[in-house]
C-alpha cells in the first residue's frame, strides 16, 4: 500500500480515503506527505509543536507485509462485529485493520446514496451480502422537491451486479427504481432473498413480476408506501408454481387489483409465510379464505376489511371471528383500508396478543375503538387516525401500559378546522403510557402544559414529533408561544434523538434545543423562529446533529455560516423557503469543498436568481453528481480549480464515520466564527487539528504547502478540546513568529 503523495485536492480520486486515514491515524507517527517544491526552506518543520517530526522529503516506501497470522486472527474476530459504528471505528485503527474490516463487512449501509459512488463502495468492500441505500431527503415526501431529482438505483444495481453476485438483500428508501433495475437485480443475483422498497417509485407491476418469477430463493418482498404503477400485469401469478420460501409478502401500498385465486394458491404453497399485508383490492371475504389457509401468520394486513360489491346477505357471511381466533401467533395487525366498522368485532379474539396495531387508514370513532383497545394490554405500537378523538386516546391511555410508539394521523390534513384531538389526548397518553418512546401527533391545538406533562411523564422518549397543523399557532389556552413545551421536552427527555417542532416558536425554543438537545440527531423545523439566532443556537449547540430539515423559517446566510464547523459531521441539511441567498450558499461551497451544495429551484420561480428556494447540502466523497436535473445547480468552489486559492482546506474522510479523533479546520472561515463567538460562545473541536498553510508565492502557478499538526490542547477548563480561541491564538502566534506574514485573501507566507 503506497501512500499517495499528491496533495489532497478535490480531483484526486482513488485511494483518497486510504491516504487520509493513514495520515490521520492516531497510532501513526509517520510524518504526513509533503509536496513542497523547495523542501529545504520549510521553516514549519522546526516549529511544529507536539508529535511528528515535521515534513519529510523521504518518499513513503512499501512497509513489510504484516504478520499473516495476526491478520488471520483479526479476520476471524472481526466477522463477529456487526454494529456499523464499531466497524467504522475498527477500520481506522491502522491499515491492516482497515483491510480486514473491509473484507469482513457483509452489510453495507449508505445513508445518502450520493455521499459515495457505487465504484468506491464496491472497491472497498468485496464481500457484501446486504445493501441498504437511502436516497431522497424526507421533505421530498411532501412535494417539496420537484420530481426526477435523482436517487437512481440504476448505477448501484449495475455496479453490484458485477461486484456482488452473491448479494442476498437489498433495502432501499426513497430511491427511484425502474423496472429495468428490478430485472437486472432478478437476473444478477441467483441467491437473492430479500427486497424491501420503502417510499420508492419509478417501477410497476411488470418489474415485480420479473422479481417474483426469477428470484427463486425469495423470502421477503416488502413494498412499503411505495408508488407502484399499474402495468396490468398480474405479478402474483408470476411466482413459481412450486413451494416458495416466502416469509414476508407486503404489498398494501400496491393499488392495482390482483388475481385473488393466484394469491390464494400462492399462500397455500408458502408454508413459511409469516407476514402478509394485503392491498385494498382484497375484500374481507377473500381475507377469510387466506387466513384459513395461513393461520401461522404473525403479521397481517387485512386489505379493505369490507365486503366486495356483490356480497351475499349477512346470514351467509363467513365466521370471521373464528378465522381470527385460529391465528394464535398474530401479533401485528394493520390494513382496514376501507373499513366497515361492523366487522371490527371479528378481531376481538386476538386483541390481547397484539403488540402492534395500525388503524391509521380506518375512519373509526371513539365508540368503535374502545372495545378493541380495552383488550390490547400488550400493545406496544399503535397507529391511528384522529377520528377516535381525545376520548379514544383516553381509552388507549387507560389500557395500553406497554405502549412504546404512538402515531396519530389527521383524517383531514387542513389548517382551519376544529380538530378532534387536542392537548387533552396528549395529556392522557402521557399519564397512561409511561413507557412511551416515540410519538407522532397531529393536532389543531395544543398547550405547553400538556407537552411539559409529557416531558415529565415519559422520560424514555426518543422521538418526539408534534405537528400543530395551524402554522404559528400558539398555546391554545395561554396564547404563549410553544417554546416552553418543546424546551421541556429537550430538557427532561434525556434520551431524545429525534425532534419535530411546530406551532408558534420564537428563537427561545431553539435556544433550548441548542442548550439541552445534546444527543439530538434529527431535527425538523417548519414555520418557526424569529431570526438567524434560532438556527445558530442549534448548529452550535447540538454536536450530534446529523439531519436538519427546515422549511419556511427566517434563517439566512449568517445562520448558515455558523454551522461550518459541523456540516461534515452531518448527513444533510435541507432549507427551503428560508432567507438564503446564492452568495451565502456559495460561501459554504467555497469553505467546504467536500460538501455538495445543491440549490433547487421551485417550478414557479422563474426570475429570481439570487434568492435560494431550496438548499440541500450533504457531504460527499465524490463531488458534484453527474445526474443533475436542470432545476438543480450545484455550487462549487470555483477557485479550487483555478489554483488561486490562498487558504486551502481539507477534510479527513473520517469526519463522517463519526470518529472524532480527527477534525480539520478551514482556518479561513474560522475567522468569521471569531466574530460569531462573541454572541454565543466558542466553538470547540476535538482531536488533532491540522492546518494546511501555503508556502511560496501564491501568485505563482503552482503552490506548495505544508502540513502543520496541532495536537490536542487543553483549554483553560482542562478539557481536551481545542477551542477556537486557542486556535486563533495559535494563529496569532504564528503571525508573531513570522510564519505567516500577512493573512487574508491575498497573502504570502514564508
Amino acid at each position: 500500500m503506497i501512500t499517495n503523495k499528491k496533495p489532497r485536492s478535490s480531483d484526486t480520486d482513488s485511494n483518497y480515503m486510504r491516504d487520509d486515514r493513514t495520515e490521520m491515524s492516531e497510532d501513526d507517527d509517520r510524518s504526513p506527505p509533503s509536496d513542497s517544491i523547495t523542501n529545504d526552506s520549510c521553516p514549519t518543520r522546526n516549529c511544529t509543536p507536539g508529535s511528528g517530526s515535521g515534513s519529510s522529503s523521504i518518499p513513503e516506501y512499501l512497509a513489510p507485509y504484516p504478520d499473516q497470522v495476526l491478520e488471520n486472527v483479526l479476520e476471524n474476530v472481526l466477522w463477529f462485529l456487526t454494529s456499523r459504528k464499531d466497524r467504522n471505528a475498527a477500520s481506522l485503527v491502522c491499515r491492516s485493520w482497515y483491510r480486514v474490516e473491509a473484507l469482513t463487512r457483509s452489510d453495507l449501509f449508505i445513508g445518502n446514496c450520493y455521499a459515495v459512488s457505487p465504484k468506491r463502495a464496491t472497491s472497498r468492500f468485496s464481500r457484501i451480502r446486504s445493501v441498504t441505500l437511502k436516497g431522497k431527503p424526507r421533505f421530498a415526501d411532501f412535494n417539496l422537491m420537484p420530481p426526477n431529482w435523482g436517487a437512481h438505483f440504476a448505477p448501484w444495481v449495475s455496479a453490484m451486479a458485477k461486484a456482488y453476485p452473491w448479494l442476498e438483500k437489498v433495502h432501499l428508501k426513497r430511491m427511484s427504481v425502474t423496472d429495468d433495475d428490478l430485472a437486472l437485480l432478478a437476473e444478477s443475483f441467483s441467491g437473492f432473498k430479500e427486497l424491501v422498497l420503502v417510499c420508492c417509485d419509478g417501477f410497476g407491476t411488470s418489474g415485480l413480476a420479473v422479481v417474483a418469477s426469477r428470484c427463486r430463493q425469495l423470502k421477503v418482498l416488502d413494498l412499503i408506501e411505495s408508488e407502484v404503477s399499474d402495468d396490468e400485469v398480474d405479478w402474483i401469478s408470476f411466482f413459481p408454481d412450486t413451494e416458495t420460501c416466502l416469509e414476508s409478502l407486503i404489498f398494501d401500498c400496491v393499488d392495482c387489483p390482483i388475481d385473488f385465486d393466484a394469491l390464494e394458491r400462492l399462500v397455500a404453497r408458502s408454508p413459511s409465510l409469516k407476514k402478509l399485508r394485503l392491498n385494498r383490492s382484497i375484500s374481507i371475504g377473500q381475507l377469510y379464505h387466506l387466513m384459513v389457509r395461513a393461520p401461522q401468520l404473525t403479521h397481517l394486513g387485512t386489505g379493505s376489511f369490507s365486503p366486495s360489491e356483490d356480497v351475499a346477505h349477512v346470514e351467509q357471511e363467513p365466521d370471521y371471528v373464528s378465522a381470527f381466533a385460529a391465528c394464535k401467533s398474530l401479533v401485528c395487525l394493520s390494513g382496514f383500508r376501507e373499513i366497515i366498522p361492523d366487522y371490527l368485532p371479528a378481531i376481538y379474539p386476538i386483541c390481547s396478543n397484539l403488540t402492534s396495531l395500525n388503524f391509521s387508514y380506518a375512519n373509526i370513532s371513539a365508540e368503535q375503538v374502545k372495545p378493541i383497545i380495552s383488550n390490547c394490554h400488550k400493545l406496544q405500537i399503535f397507529w391511528v387516525l384522529d377520528s377516535i378523538c381525545d376520548e379514544g386516546l383516553q381509552a388507549v391511555a387507560a389500557t395500553c401500559k406497554e405502549l412504546r410508539e404512538l402515531r396519530v394521523f389527521p383524517i383531514e390534513a387542513r389548517e382551519d378546522i376544529e380538530g378532534p384531538v387536542s392537548e387533552v389526548g396528549l395529556q392522557a397518553i402521557s399519564e397512561g403510557c409511561r413507557k412511551l418512546q416515540s410519538i407522532l401527533y397531529f393536532c389543531q391545538r395544543m398547550t405547553n402544559a400538556a407537552v411539559i406533562a409529557m416531558s415529565k411523564n415519559c422520560p424514555d422518549l426518543v422521538v418526539f414529533r408534534l405537528c400543530i397543523m395551524g402554522r404559528h399557532r400558539p398555546d391554545d389556552v395561554t396564547g404563549e408561544p410553544m417554546d416552553e413545551g418543546f424546551g421541556a421536552i429537550v430538557m427532561n427527555c434525556k434520551k431524545l434523538t429525534r425532534l419535530a417542532v411546530s406551532g408558534l416558536l420564537t428563537d427561545r425554543a431553539f435556544a433550548y434545543i441548542g442548550k439541552y438537545g445534546k444527543i439530538v440527531r434529527t431535527l425538523s423545523v417548519a414555520f418557526a423562529g424569529d431570526s438567524d439566532m434560532g438556527l445558530k443556537y442549534v448548529l452550535e449547540g447540538c454536536p450530534r446533529l446529523q439531519k436538519l430539515e427546515i422549511r419556511d423559517s427566517p434563517f439566512g446566510d449568517a445562520a448558515l455560516l455558523s454551522g461550518l464547523h459541523h456540516y461534515y459531521n452531518m448527513r444533510f441539511l435541507w432549507m427551503s423557503t428560508c432567507k438564503l441567498s446564492r452568495q451565502g450558499c456559495q460561501q459554504i461551497a467555497q469553505a467546504l469543498p467536500r460538501l455538495v451544495v445543491e440549490v433547487i429551484k421551485h417550478e414557479d420561480n422563474v426570475d429570481m436568481e439570487e434568492v435560494v428556494d431550496t438548499l440541500y447540502m450533504y457531504r460527499s466523497l465524490e463531488g458534484p453528481r453527474e445526474d443533475v436535473p436542470q432545476f438543480v445547480s450545484i455550487l462549487e468552489d470555483r477557485h479550487m480549480k483555478e489554483g488561486a486559492l490562498m487558504w486551502k482546506t481539507d477534510i479527513s474522510a473520517r469526519c463522517w464515520t463519526t470518529i472524532r479523533s480527527v477534525c480539520i479546520v478551514n482556518v479561513r472561515w474560522v475567522i468569521n466564527a471569531k466574530y460569531a463567538q462573541h454572541m454565543h460562545g466558542p466553538y470547540t473541536f476535538s482531536g488533532n487539528v491540522v492546518v494546511q498553510v501555503h508556502v511560496g508565492d501564491p501568485l505563482a502557478h503552482r503552490v506548495g504547502f505544508h502540513w502543520m499538526r496541532i495536537p490536542i490542547l487543553k483549554d483553560m477548563y482542562g478539557s481536551d478540546h481545542i477551542s477556537i480561541l486557542v486556535l486563533l491564538e495559535l494563529i496569532s502566534l504564528m503571525v508573531k513568529a513570522k510564519l505567516i506574514v500577512k493573512v487574508g485573501s491575498d497573502c504570502a507566507f514564508e
Partner: protein, 221 residues
C-alpha cells in the same frame, strides 16, 4: 453556553502585532476586505425584519408577547385562527401524498335493500348532501324499479315515476346508538359521522321509526 469570553485573549496580543494588518477576515479570494460578512454575523435580525416570506404570515407580525390587556388577546386570536383566506401551502401539513390519497374515501357503510339478496357499500364521503346520496342509491339499485320517498322535499324524487309496480322505499339508517332513523333529520355532516349502515325499507314496514319532528311525517303507507 460557555461562559468563556475569549475576546480579551486575542485583543491583548494585538498590542504586540500590527493586528489590523494581520486581522483575519473572511472573504472570497480577490475580493476586497469589505466586511460584508461581519456585518451580517453581528446583530440579530429582529422578528419584524425577517418577515417577508410571502406566506400570508404578515398577520402574525404584530404578535405581541407583552400581553398587555385586551390588545394581546385579539392578537392571539388573530394568530390562533388564521384567516380563512389563507392560501394552502405546499406540503403542509406534512402528510404523505400516499396517505392523503388513501384517506380520500373512508366512510364506507353497507346498504341493504329489503328484499334484495345482496348488499352494496357506499362511501358517504363522496357526497355532500342527502340529495346526492339518494340519487346515487337509486343508481346503485337501478335494477329495481322503485322510488325512494324523499321526506326532505316532501315528495318523491322521481316525480314522473308512475310505474305502479314500483315499490316505494324509505331510506333509513342505523346511527351510533343503534337506533334506526329516517334520513334527513340531522345536518348532513352529522349524519355522515353517526351513520353506521343504511337500509332502504319498504314503506309498508316503516312503522315505529323515530318520527321526524315535522308532523307531516307519515310512517304508514
Amino acid at each position: 453556553m460557555s461562559p468563556e469570553n475569549g475576546s480579551n485573549l486575542l485583543e491583548s496580543d494585538a498590542a504586540n502585532v500590527s493586528f489590523k494588518e494581520t486581522e483575519l477576515t473572511l472573504g472570497m479570494p480577490g475580493e476586497s476586505r469589505g466586511l460584508t460578512l461581519v456585518e451580517k454575523a453581528s446583530g440579530k435580525r429582529g422578528f419584524l425584519e425577517t418577515v417577508d416570506l410571502n406566506l400570508g404570515r404578515s398577520s402574525n407580525v404584530d404578535y405581541d408577547r407583552n400581553k398587555d390587556s385586551g390588545e394581546s388577546e385579539t392578537d392571539v386570536s388573530s394568530v390562533a385562527k388564521p384567516p380563512a383566506a389563507k392560501s394552502q401551502v405546499v406540503g403542509w401539513p406534512p402528510v404523505r401524498a400516499y396517505r392523503k390519497n388513501a384517506m380520500k374515501s373512508c366512510k364506507y357503510v353497507k346498504v341493504a335493500v329489503d328484499g334484495a339478496p345482496y348488499l352494496r357499500k357506499v362511501d358517504l364521503e363522496m357526497y355532500n348532501s342527502y340529495q346526492q346520496l339518494l340519487n346515487a342509491l337509486e343508481d346503485l339499485f337501478s335494477c329495481f324499479s322503485f322510488t325512494i320517498r324523499n321526506y326532505l322535499t316532501e315528495r318523491k324524487i322521481t316525480d314522473q315515476e308512475v310505474n305502479n309496480s314500483g315499490v316505494e322505499y324509505v331510506p333509513t339508517y342505523e346511527d351510533r346508538d343503534g337506533d334506526w332513523m329516517m334520513l334527513g333529520d340531522v345536518p348532513w355532516k352529522m349524519f355522515v359521522e353517526s351513520c353506521k349502515r343504511l337500509r332502504l325499507m319498504k314503506s309498508s314496514e316503516a312503522t315505529g321509526l323515530a318520527p321526524r319532528t315535522a308532523s307531516k311525517c307519515s310512517s304508514s303507507s
